[in-house]
Protein backbone atom coordinates (compact mmCIF):
# COMPACT_ATOMS: atom_id res chain seq x y z
CA UNK A 1 0.00 0.00 0.00
CA UNK A 2 1.36 3.45 -0.93
CA UNK A 3 1.72 6.27 1.54
CA UNK A 4 -1.12 8.38 0.01
CA UNK A 5 -3.60 5.50 0.19
CA UNK A 6 -2.65 4.82 3.80
CA UNK A 7 -3.21 8.48 4.64
CA UNK A 8 -6.60 8.50 2.83
CA UNK A 9 -7.69 5.42 4.73
CA UNK A 10 -6.65 7.03 7.99
CA UNK A 11 -8.65 10.14 7.19
CA UNK A 12 -11.84 8.22 6.23
CA UNK A 13 -12.18 5.30 8.66
CA UNK A 14 -14.65 2.58 7.67
CA UNK A 15 -17.63 3.03 9.95
CA UNK A 16 -18.83 -0.59 10.11
CA UNK A 17 -16.00 -2.83 8.85
CA UNK A 18 -18.09 -6.00 8.97
CA UNK A 19 -21.03 -4.56 7.01
CA UNK A 20 -21.79 -5.90 3.50
CA UNK A 21 -21.09 -3.50 0.63
CA UNK A 22 -24.21 -1.75 -0.63
CA UNK A 23 -24.11 -0.32 -4.16
CA UNK A 24 -27.00 2.03 -3.45
CA UNK A 25 -26.70 3.79 -0.10
CA UNK A 26 -29.99 5.72 -0.11
CA UNK A 27 -33.06 3.72 -0.97
CA UNK A 28 -36.79 4.17 -1.38
CA UNK A 29 -37.35 0.46 -0.98
CA UNK A 30 -37.77 -2.34 -3.49
CA UNK A 31 -41.49 -1.85 -4.12
CA UNK A 32 -41.14 -1.46 -7.89
CA UNK A 33 -39.00 -4.60 -8.09
CA UNK A 34 -41.61 -6.64 -6.18
CA UNK A 35 -44.36 -5.16 -8.34
CA UNK A 36 -42.44 -6.20 -11.50
CA UNK A 37 -42.02 -9.76 -10.15
CA UNK A 38 -45.68 -9.88 -9.07
CA UNK A 39 -46.94 -8.94 -12.56
CA UNK A 40 -45.06 -11.90 -14.07
CA UNK A 41 -45.90 -14.44 -11.35
CA UNK A 42 -49.59 -13.47 -11.19
CA UNK A 43 -49.75 -13.29 -15.00
CA UNK A 44 -48.87 -16.98 -15.38
CA UNK A 45 -51.41 -18.05 -12.74
CA UNK A 46 -54.10 -15.78 -14.25
CA UNK A 47 -53.51 -17.23 -17.71
CA UNK A 48 -54.42 -20.70 -16.41
CA UNK A 49 -57.31 -19.54 -14.18
CA UNK A 50 -58.92 -17.29 -16.81
CA UNK A 51 -58.58 -19.80 -19.66
CA UNK A 52 -60.33 -22.39 -17.45
CA UNK A 53 -62.95 -19.74 -16.51
CA UNK A 54 -63.61 -18.88 -20.17
CA UNK A 55 -63.77 -22.53 -21.21
CA UNK A 56 -66.18 -23.58 -18.46
CA UNK A 57 -68.44 -20.51 -18.82
CA UNK A 58 -68.38 -19.77 -22.57
CA UNK A 59 -67.37 -22.95 -24.45
CA UNK A 60 -68.47 -26.02 -22.47
CA UNK A 61 -72.16 -26.99 -22.39
CA UNK A 62 -74.49 -24.34 -23.77
CA UNK A 63 -71.91 -21.55 -23.50
CA UNK A 64 -73.03 -18.02 -22.75
CA UNK A 65 -76.73 -18.86 -23.22
CA UNK A 66 -76.62 -21.13 -20.13
CA UNK A 67 -75.42 -18.39 -17.77
CA UNK A 68 -78.05 -17.45 -15.18
CA UNK A 69 -78.47 -17.56 -11.40
CA UNK A 70 -78.76 -21.34 -11.42
CA UNK A 71 -75.42 -21.68 -13.27
CA UNK A 72 -73.53 -19.40 -10.85
CA UNK A 73 -75.19 -20.99 -7.82
CA UNK A 74 -74.30 -24.45 -9.12
CA UNK A 75 -70.64 -23.45 -9.28
CA UNK A 76 -70.44 -21.60 -5.96
CA UNK A 77 -72.18 -24.40 -4.08
CA UNK A 78 -68.77 -26.08 -4.38
CA UNK A 79 -65.82 -24.86 -2.24
CA UNK A 80 -63.56 -25.70 -5.20
CA UNK A 81 -65.04 -23.00 -7.45
CA UNK A 82 -65.35 -20.60 -4.51
CA UNK A 83 -61.59 -20.81 -3.91
CA UNK A 84 -60.75 -20.71 -7.65
CA UNK A 85 -62.90 -17.60 -8.16
CA UNK A 86 -61.61 -15.94 -4.97
CA UNK A 87 -57.98 -16.41 -6.05
CA UNK A 88 -58.85 -15.22 -9.56
CA UNK A 89 -60.64 -12.13 -8.18
CA UNK A 90 -57.71 -11.09 -5.99
CA UNK A 91 -54.96 -11.80 -8.49
CA UNK A 92 -56.84 -10.13 -11.35
CA UNK A 93 -57.69 -7.03 -9.29
CA UNK A 94 -54.10 -6.69 -8.03
CA UNK A 95 -52.63 -7.34 -11.50
CA UNK A 96 -55.07 -4.94 -13.19
CA UNK A 97 -54.75 -2.21 -10.56
CA UNK A 98 -50.96 -2.40 -10.66
CA UNK A 99 -51.01 -2.19 -14.46
CA UNK A 100 -53.32 0.84 -14.31
CA UNK A 101 -51.01 2.40 -11.69
CA UNK A 102 -48.10 2.04 -14.13
CA UNK A 103 -50.11 3.65 -16.93
CA UNK A 104 -51.28 6.53 -14.71
CA UNK A 105 -47.68 7.15 -13.60
CA UNK A 106 -46.57 7.15 -17.25
CA UNK A 107 -49.15 9.47 -18.77
CA UNK A 108 -50.61 11.68 -16.00
CA UNK A 109 -47.81 14.21 -15.72
CA UNK A 110 -49.50 16.80 -13.50
CA UNK A 111 -49.05 15.90 -9.81
CA UNK A 112 -52.63 16.71 -8.83
CA UNK A 113 -54.19 14.76 -11.68
CA UNK A 114 -51.95 11.77 -11.02
CA UNK A 115 -52.86 11.79 -7.33
CA UNK A 116 -56.62 11.93 -8.00
CA UNK A 117 -56.48 9.21 -10.65
CA UNK A 118 -54.64 6.95 -8.22
CA UNK A 119 -57.09 7.72 -5.41
CA UNK A 120 -59.94 6.76 -7.77
CA UNK A 121 -58.05 3.63 -8.85
CA UNK A 122 -57.32 2.43 -5.32
CA UNK A 123 -60.88 3.22 -4.22
CA UNK A 124 -62.22 1.10 -7.09
CA UNK A 125 -59.80 -1.68 -6.12
CA UNK A 126 -60.95 -1.74 -2.49
CA UNK A 127 -64.68 -1.48 -3.25
CA UNK A 128 -64.71 -4.14 -5.99
CA UNK A 129 -62.35 -6.59 -4.27
CA UNK A 130 -64.12 -6.39 -0.90
CA UNK A 131 -67.55 -6.64 -2.54
CA UNK A 132 -66.53 -9.64 -4.65
CA UNK A 133 -64.97 -11.40 -1.65
CA UNK A 134 -68.07 -10.84 0.50
CA UNK A 135 -70.35 -12.10 -2.28
CA UNK A 136 -68.34 -15.32 -2.72
CA UNK A 137 -68.40 -16.06 1.03
CA UNK A 138 -71.92 -14.93 1.99
CA UNK A 139 -73.64 -16.32 -1.12
CA UNK A 140 -76.65 -18.62 -0.61
CA UNK A 141 -77.32 -20.82 -3.67
CA UNK A 142 -80.86 -21.60 -2.42
CA UNK A 143 -82.42 -18.35 -1.08
CA UNK A 144 -85.64 -19.31 0.74
CA UNK A 145 -87.96 -16.71 -0.82
CA UNK A 146 -86.92 -17.27 -4.46
CA UNK A 147 -89.01 -19.12 -7.08
CA UNK A 148 -87.81 -22.74 -7.43
CA UNK A 149 -87.52 -22.58 -11.23
CA UNK A 150 -84.72 -19.98 -10.96
CA UNK A 151 -82.66 -22.07 -8.55
CA UNK A 152 -80.19 -24.89 -9.23
CA UNK A 153 -81.83 -28.32 -9.23
CA UNK A 154 -80.20 -29.49 -5.97
CA UNK A 155 -82.12 -26.85 -3.95
CA UNK A 156 -85.38 -28.81 -4.16
CA UNK A 157 -83.78 -32.22 -3.69
Amino acid sequence: MTTTQTQAAAQLPIENPGEAYKRRKTTRGNFELYSWVFMRASGVVLLVLIFVHLFVNLVAGEGITAIDFGFVAGKWASPFWQVIDLVMLWLAMLHGTNGMRTIVNDYAERDGLRMWLKIALYTAFVVVTVLGTLVIFTFDPCPADAPANLLPSFCTA
Partner: protein, 126 residues
Protein backbone atom coordinates in the same frame (compact mmCIF):
# COMPACT_ATOMS: atom_id res chain seq x y z
CA UNK B 1 -42.18 17.06 -28.59
CA UNK B 2 -38.62 15.70 -28.45
CA UNK B 3 -37.54 14.10 -31.71
CA UNK B 4 -37.40 10.32 -31.87
CA UNK B 5 -34.00 8.62 -31.85
CA UNK B 6 -33.60 6.42 -34.94
CA UNK B 7 -32.63 2.77 -34.97
CA UNK B 8 -33.49 1.85 -31.38
CA UNK B 9 -34.42 -1.73 -30.55
CA UNK B 10 -38.13 -1.20 -30.09
CA UNK B 11 -39.38 2.09 -31.50
CA UNK B 12 -41.97 1.91 -34.24
CA UNK B 13 -41.67 -1.79 -34.92
CA UNK B 14 -42.98 -5.12 -33.57
CA UNK B 15 -41.63 -4.43 -30.08
CA UNK B 16 -43.37 -1.06 -29.73
CA UNK B 17 -46.68 -2.12 -31.26
CA UNK B 18 -46.90 -5.24 -29.12
CA UNK B 19 -46.23 -3.02 -26.08
CA UNK B 20 -49.00 -0.62 -27.17
CA UNK B 21 -51.40 -3.52 -27.78
CA UNK B 22 -50.53 -5.00 -24.37
CA UNK B 23 -51.43 -1.71 -22.66
CA UNK B 24 -54.63 -1.16 -24.64
CA UNK B 25 -55.91 -4.72 -24.07
CA UNK B 26 -54.89 -4.50 -20.38
CA UNK B 27 -56.94 -1.33 -19.84
CA UNK B 28 -59.96 -2.83 -21.65
CA UNK B 29 -59.79 -6.02 -19.57
CA UNK B 30 -59.45 -4.01 -16.33
CA UNK B 31 -62.60 -1.96 -16.94
CA UNK B 32 -64.50 -5.09 -17.99
CA UNK B 33 -63.33 -6.77 -14.77
CA UNK B 34 -64.80 -3.97 -12.61
CA UNK B 35 -68.18 -4.28 -14.37
CA UNK B 36 -68.01 -8.09 -14.31
CA UNK B 37 -67.54 -8.24 -10.51
CA UNK B 38 -70.36 -5.72 -10.00
CA UNK B 39 -72.87 -7.56 -12.21
CA UNK B 40 -71.93 -10.96 -10.75
CA UNK B 41 -72.46 -9.48 -7.26
CA UNK B 42 -76.18 -9.27 -8.12
CA UNK B 43 -76.45 -12.99 -7.29
CA UNK B 44 -76.29 -11.77 -3.68
CA UNK B 45 -79.32 -9.50 -4.25
CA UNK B 46 -81.73 -12.01 -5.80
CA UNK B 47 -81.96 -14.56 -8.64
CA UNK B 48 -84.36 -12.21 -10.43
CA UNK B 49 -81.97 -9.23 -10.28
CA UNK B 50 -79.03 -11.28 -11.61
CA UNK B 51 -81.05 -12.90 -14.41
CA UNK B 52 -82.53 -9.55 -15.45
CA UNK B 53 -79.10 -7.92 -15.90
CA UNK B 54 -77.48 -10.98 -17.52
CA UNK B 55 -80.52 -11.13 -19.81
CA UNK B 56 -79.68 -7.69 -21.20
CA UNK B 57 -76.25 -9.11 -22.22
CA UNK B 58 -77.79 -11.90 -24.28
CA UNK B 59 -78.03 -10.13 -27.63
CA UNK B 60 -75.80 -10.06 -30.74
CA UNK B 61 -74.13 -6.71 -29.90
CA UNK B 62 -72.99 -7.90 -26.47
CA UNK B 63 -72.12 -11.27 -28.00
CA UNK B 64 -69.70 -9.56 -30.40
CA UNK B 65 -68.37 -7.51 -27.47
CA UNK B 66 -67.67 -10.76 -25.59
CA UNK B 67 -65.80 -12.08 -28.64
CA UNK B 68 -63.71 -8.89 -28.62
CA UNK B 69 -63.09 -9.25 -24.89
CA UNK B 70 -61.91 -12.85 -25.31
CA UNK B 71 -59.66 -11.73 -28.19
CA UNK B 72 -58.13 -9.04 -25.93
CA UNK B 73 -57.58 -11.57 -23.11
CA UNK B 74 -56.02 -14.17 -25.44
CA UNK B 75 -53.61 -11.63 -26.94
CA UNK B 76 -52.70 -10.19 -23.51
CA UNK B 77 -52.11 -13.71 -22.14
CA UNK B 78 -49.89 -14.97 -24.98
CA UNK B 79 -48.01 -11.69 -25.34
CA UNK B 80 -47.48 -11.75 -21.56
CA UNK B 81 -45.70 -15.11 -21.93
CA UNK B 82 -43.61 -13.60 -24.76
CA UNK B 83 -42.72 -10.65 -22.53
CA UNK B 84 -41.56 -13.02 -19.79
CA UNK B 85 -39.42 -14.91 -22.30
CA UNK B 86 -37.86 -11.59 -23.40
CA UNK B 87 -37.13 -10.86 -19.71
CA UNK B 88 -35.91 -14.25 -18.50
CA UNK B 89 -34.73 -16.28 -21.52
CA UNK B 90 -31.12 -15.53 -22.50
CA UNK B 91 -32.06 -15.43 -26.21
CA UNK B 92 -35.37 -13.63 -25.60
CA UNK B 93 -34.35 -10.24 -26.99
CA UNK B 94 -32.87 -11.84 -30.12
CA UNK B 95 -36.11 -13.68 -30.92
CA UNK B 96 -38.65 -11.11 -29.69
CA UNK B 97 -39.94 -10.44 -33.23
CA UNK B 98 -40.25 -14.14 -34.10
CA UNK B 99 -42.03 -14.69 -30.80
CA UNK B 100 -44.59 -12.00 -31.67
CA UNK B 101 -45.46 -13.94 -34.83
CA UNK B 102 -45.73 -17.11 -32.72
CA UNK B 103 -48.09 -15.16 -30.41
CA UNK B 104 -50.18 -14.08 -33.42
CA UNK B 105 -50.25 -17.66 -34.71
CA UNK B 106 -51.40 -19.04 -31.34
CA UNK B 107 -53.94 -16.20 -31.14
CA UNK B 108 -55.43 -17.16 -34.53
CA UNK B 109 -55.58 -20.86 -33.58
CA UNK B 110 -57.21 -20.12 -30.20
CA UNK B 111 -59.76 -17.73 -31.68
CA UNK B 112 -60.50 -20.21 -34.50
CA UNK B 113 -61.42 -22.71 -31.79
CA UNK B 114 -63.45 -20.25 -29.76
CA UNK B 115 -65.26 -17.98 -32.24
CA UNK B 116 -67.40 -20.47 -34.20
CA UNK B 117 -68.75 -22.04 -31.00
CA UNK B 118 -69.37 -18.70 -29.27
CA UNK B 119 -71.00 -17.11 -32.34
CA UNK B 120 -73.14 -20.22 -32.71
CA UNK B 121 -74.38 -19.68 -29.13
CA UNK B 122 -74.94 -15.97 -29.74
CA UNK B 123 -76.62 -16.13 -33.16
CA UNK B 124 -77.95 -19.70 -33.19
CA UNK B 125 -81.00 -19.01 -31.03
CA UNK B 126 -82.27 -21.42 -28.43
Amino acid sequence: MPSAPAGTLYRGREGMWSWVAHRVTGVLIFFFLLVHVLDTSLVRVSPEAYNAVIGTYKNPIMGLGEAGLVAAIVFHAFNGIRLMLVDFWSKGTRYHRVMLWVVMGLFVVTMAGFLPRHLMHVFGGE
